[in-house]
Amino acid sequence: MRLQFEAKQRLGTFDLDVAFVSESGVTALFGRSGSGKTSVIRIIAGLARPTEGRIVFDGDVLLDTQRGIFVPKHKRRFATVFQEGRLFPHLSVLQNLNYGRWFTPKQDRADNLAKIVDLLGIGGLLDRRPGKLSGGEKQRVAVGRALLSSPRLLLMDEPLAALDDTRKAEILPYLEALRDEMNIPIIYVSHSVAEVARLADRVIALSEGKVAMAGAATDILNATSVSVAASKREAGAVVEGRVITYDAVHRLATIGFNSSRLYVSGTEIAEGRSVRVHILAKDVMLSTMRPEHLSALNIIEGTVEAISLDAAGSADIRIECDGAPILARITQLSCERLGLKLGLPVYAIIKTVALEPY
């Protein structure tokens, strides 16, 4: 699968000018609110028409403003999962799930209702009305409804943004299962680094209507400049590595990335599995000497690679730890006291319980 996208649009003072190519797997369109991600996904879905643009999906031209081609939304077979679910209130959950199937051409119709119902854990809801579902249940049904229309491409527009953290945690495993078990390319719009780190293979970072960066998920999320697209609270680094050992007594996994070791706790992970860890900049402490008698298990040696100060009095320090960058956010006062400067060797300290492996 290959989606070529190019669009230009002017909405008031906002200029959208985005071009990218997306391949199979999960491609995340990532950026702050107002960066143009939702406009892009609406154009792909056929819900909006750009002033200038071209969309080609596997050789099938869906939009070409120069040649006057516009394939209407119901003929694209790009099912969309919206932020608010948008379940049909007059239909039961089962009828909602089956809705897209009625309109899928017979030869393209996959008979996988039981599998998808099972995958999303919605077997107990089938007779209910959408009005009686919780937010998380609604979103799972919406995902199931989109999948059952046998789409060529699944578009997800911030599907978790309207949910609280508990509900998000409840749905994310289902989305991971979906990514791993269904062979459908997904374009996932999100402003959350955590979601993108957990789900995406490739990331296209948008900022002010332009593509700021594009590439493999770990590369993009590692780059300090990802803070262009991420909210300040979520700035940090994403490191990817393999589980070397798992200590069942202390429920502690050791993850090796390059020559460094990172301990994470809580979840049981099989040895040898590849995992991603999102290290938030605000969870990282710095020390110029190797600290002792400290509860934090993760003490990683590195050198200061970049320092950026902001108007709010904080300093973002990028530390190079054997090929993997770690971002630390400390106060400018601490920065001065420690006498941090480029090339200085430092120790980054991360509390083990602050980390969550994906």
């Binding site: 119901h74 948008r86 209130p89 809705y99 309109f103 899928t104 989109a146």
Partner: protein, 233 residues
């Protein structure tokens, strides 16, 4: 003679009224849905003129509406002459004419009710249906129509109720001919003008009350059925 027994003439008026009101309601249903949606969703030149025309019978004195119908649909009127010559349809002084008058009088009520329910439909649901592969016609039939059903039912009941009580426009357009155009209201009016007609007028009044109550309860029941199907969040 039993006090409650209806004479043939009275029975005819009851029967005729029900027929006129039903025909008026059913005939205006499809145009009512069409105009309701057009006014709620359409963007076109002359929308306010259409809106004004539809609502005119609500504001004009009924007698004026009846007279306009007489001018247009009378045997010598431009539309009436055309219908009589090419289609053999004569409306003036016939029950069909009474149905036309009742339909025109009830039309603004029906359109208003449908228009409001169309405006209340969340258009994002229609977008969702389209991305799932439903063509515009299917989106209308499977999403829009079920969601505006309560408004359509309310509009039908209002139109029926208006037709039941219509007097001015009907009597002006098709007169008050027993057995052809004499509806309940016209019959009651006629009986009150005749010495000793009070008993008959009272009987018909009771029937009007019963029919109105039945229509009201039927609409409540249908609203309940629809409401049970559509549970909004």
């Amino acid at each position: 003679m039993d006090w409650f027994a209806l004479s043939n003439e009275e029975w005819t008026a009851v029967h005729l009224t029900l027929r006129i009101a039903s025909v008026a309601m059913l005939a205006s249903l499809i145009p009512g849905i069409f105009v309701g949606i057009l006014l709620a969703r359409g963007k076109f030149w002359g929308k306010s003129i259409l809106n004004g025309l539809v609502h005119l019978p609500l504001i004009l004195p009924p007698v004026v509406t009846g007279f306009i119908l007489l001018i247009l649909f009378g045997r010598r009127g431009p539309i009436g002459a055309f219908l009589a010559e090419y289609l053999g349809i004569v409306l003036s002084f016939r029950w069909t004419g009474a149905a036309l008058a009742c339909g025109v009088m009830g039309f603004p009520l029906m359109v208003r009710s449908i228009r409001l329910s169309v405006e209340a439909v969340d258009r994002r649901l229609e977008d969702a249906a389209a991305t799932l592969g439903a063509s515009p016609a299917w989106v209308f039939l499977t999403v829009t129509l079920p969601l505006i059903l309560p408004g359509i039912i309310a509009g039908m009941i209002l139109s029926f109720a208006k037709a039941m009580g219509e007097f001015g426009a009907t009597i002006t357009f098709v007169s008050n001919i027993p057995g052809e155009t004499q509806t309940l209201s016209a019959a009651i009016y006629t009986f009150t003008q005749v010495p000793g007609g009070d008993a008959a007028a009272f009987r018909l009044t009771m029937i009007s009350v019963v029919i109105s109550m039945a229509a009201l309860m039927a609409s409540e029941f249908m609203a309940y059925l629809v409401g049970r199907r559509v549970e909004f969040e």
